[in-house]
Amino acid sequence: MEIKVLAFGIARDILGGPELKISGPENLTVGRLLELLKERYPAFVDLTSLAIAVNAEYANENQPISAGDEIVIIPPVAGG
């Protein structure tokens, strides 16, 4: 399964762009996606936190990812 991952803030700098196409197993979960990202881009390990949003909601590690989902990498937020 190929999925598209969007990135903001420092995550975009780490990826080198706002979007990443990634091939994962059919039964990909949020937790496994985080592992894949940290393997391929070790700079993610150094961040204060790293979360994944699925369809504009924070997702826990067990959540499965489907082909049509909007997947976004959420590095440490700093609004206000």
Partner: protein, 139 residues
């Protein structure tokens, strides 16, 4: 509607937020206004660049406001956040809460800004004379 959530690229206006939360039965309004400071940890900041994952930033701000109206019934809430390039002194966020009595307005407004900084997907990059850094990205 008792809540007003906005993500704007134009300057924020305290009056607009205040007017939203004013009502004849609201005796206490508390406003938090967050501005761009000219230094951080002793270093001079030239400007700040804000960006948001917009649909989720709006939905997370809406969750904060909805939680307030549940926890402090009959309250009115406005949360306006700016994105884009901000200069020193520019307003980055305004949170206004109106309630019948003041203690609730203080508690709700403080809850809102504390939670916003933890959950709303907005990022800011501080621009210095000699570089730039994504705020809070690293321990």
């Amino acid at each position: 509607m008792t809540i007003d959530i906005q993500l704007l690229t134009t300057p924020l206006d305290t009056n607009v937020c205040q007017q939203w939360v004013e009502a004849p039965d609201k005796g206490g309004l508390v406003l938090f206004v967050g501005t761009v400071r000219n230094h951080t940890q002793g270093k001079e900041v030239l400007r700040l660049d804000f960006e948001a994952y917009e649909p989720m930033a709006i939905s997370e701000m809406r969750k904060i406001a909805m939680t307030i109206t549940e926890r402090w019934p009959e309250s009115r809430v406005a949360i306006h956040h700016r994105v884009g390039q901000l200069a020193i002194g520019d307003i980055a966020v305004i949170i206004a809460v109106g309630t019948a009595h003041r203690a609730a307005a203080f508690a709700a407004c403080q809850y809102a800004i504390d939670t916003l900084k933890q959950t709303v997907p907005i990022w800011k990059k501080e621009i210095f004379a000699d570089g730039e850094v994504w705020v809070a990205a690293h321990p």
